[in-house]
């Protein structure tokens, strides 16, 4: 709130309505601004993991490095918890913040379930655990990369709708469709990791825009 509300003076009807409108808008903006740092966190993790896995895969020719992806939600969750603990001084929650948390949790559960299911399917159908075959199944046969990037873009756009934020709506669309385009353009499986590098960078940019949009 721009002005300090210290006096308990009586106001005109117009002043009261304007105070209510301003206060409600400020709460929405504050919650949107606070979500920015989590976009930056997950975007940075996504970019980091995609590049590390790409380099390791390229250097060793071992597709099994893709298993490192499973460490990302664990590290991200721990870091997000740590960041939320630092927020103890000021706490605010509304339906929108709960919905956006729910959307990203649902995305995480979908993505992990699809990955685990593909691994389990590959294991059962082969009768033995062959990591190379498993990863090929994940990346090539099941088009897992395409599915995840589409889900990712969709989740980001829905968050934009919930928060009434155009930057998020557009970023989600760009990530989903742009990611799919990279998927079809790139030939080698390891290069498809750049889809996630791209998605991570878009997420960081969205977080920065949101954070400074409402500064």
């Amino acid at each position: 709130m721009e002005n300090t509300i210290e006096q308990n003076r009586e106001m005109t009807a117009e002043e009261s309505l304007s105070l209510i409108t301003e206060t409600l808008n400020n709460s929405r903006k504050e919650i949107t601004r606070r979500s920015g740092k989590y976009y930056i966190l997950w975007g940075a993790l996504l970019t980091f993991f995609s590049l590390v896995i790409y380099v390791l895969w390229k250097l060793t020719d071992q597709e099994a490095w893709n298993n490192l992806w499973f460490a990302m939600p664990v590290i991200g969750f721990l870091l997000a918890r740590l960041m939320s603990r630092k927020d103890t001084e000021t706490h605010v929650q509304n339906d929108v913040s709960r919905i956006t948390q729910g959307i990203w949790s649902a995305f995480g559960i979908f993505a992990c379930t699809v990955a685990v299911f593909t691994i389990a399917y590959s294991y059962v159908s082969d009768g033995a655990l062959d990591l190379g075959r498993t990863i090929r199944a994940m990346v090539s046969v099941a088009s897992l990369t395409a599915e995840i990037v589409l889900l990712f873009g969709l989740a980001e756009s829905i968050c934009g709708v919930a928060l009434k934020n155009w930057a998020m709506k557009i970023a989600g669309f760009v990530t989903g469709i742009g990611g799919l385009a990279i998927y079809y353009i790139t030939g080698a499986a390891e290069e498809q990791l750049f889809i996630f590098t791209f998605a991570g960078l878009v997420l960081v940019a969205t977080g920065l825009i949101v954070k400074y949009q409402y500064k």
């Binding site: 509300i5 210290e6 009261s16 105070l19 206060t23 605010v92 509304n94 339906d95």
Partner: protein
């Protein structure tokens, strides 16, 4: 005849507190202080008045080792806020 405006809500700081709480599920004391810019003492007095009237509920607890006071709008407070906004609109229409 124009309805009487709720005197409890027709005060700048108390209205700001209720408006903030109307837009969120809950908010802690520090957030309310940050948003209104009021001093702790004044904010505390106004929160007590709203709580006494049953408009808000106040939960005092700890998060880790840090004490935290969380405020929420009650159904009674929510109804009073709706009625207050409705009455304000009538005043504005009547004034035109």
């Amino acid at each position: 005849m124009l309805p009487k405006l709720d005197p409890l809500l027709h005060s700048e700081l108390r209205l700001a507190i209720v408006s903030i709480l109307a837009g969120v599920e809950e908010a802690d004391f520090t957030y309310l202080k940050e948003q209104t810019g009021a001093t702790s003492g004044n904010l505390s007095v106004q929160i007590d008045k709203l709580a006494e009237a049953g408009y808000i509920e106040v939960e005092k607890g700890f998060r880790g080792k840090v004490p935290r006071t969380v405020c929420r709008l009650t159904p009674q407070g929510s109804e009073a806020f709706r009625a207050y906004v409705k009455a304000l609109r009538k005043y504005i229409v009547a004034g035109k």
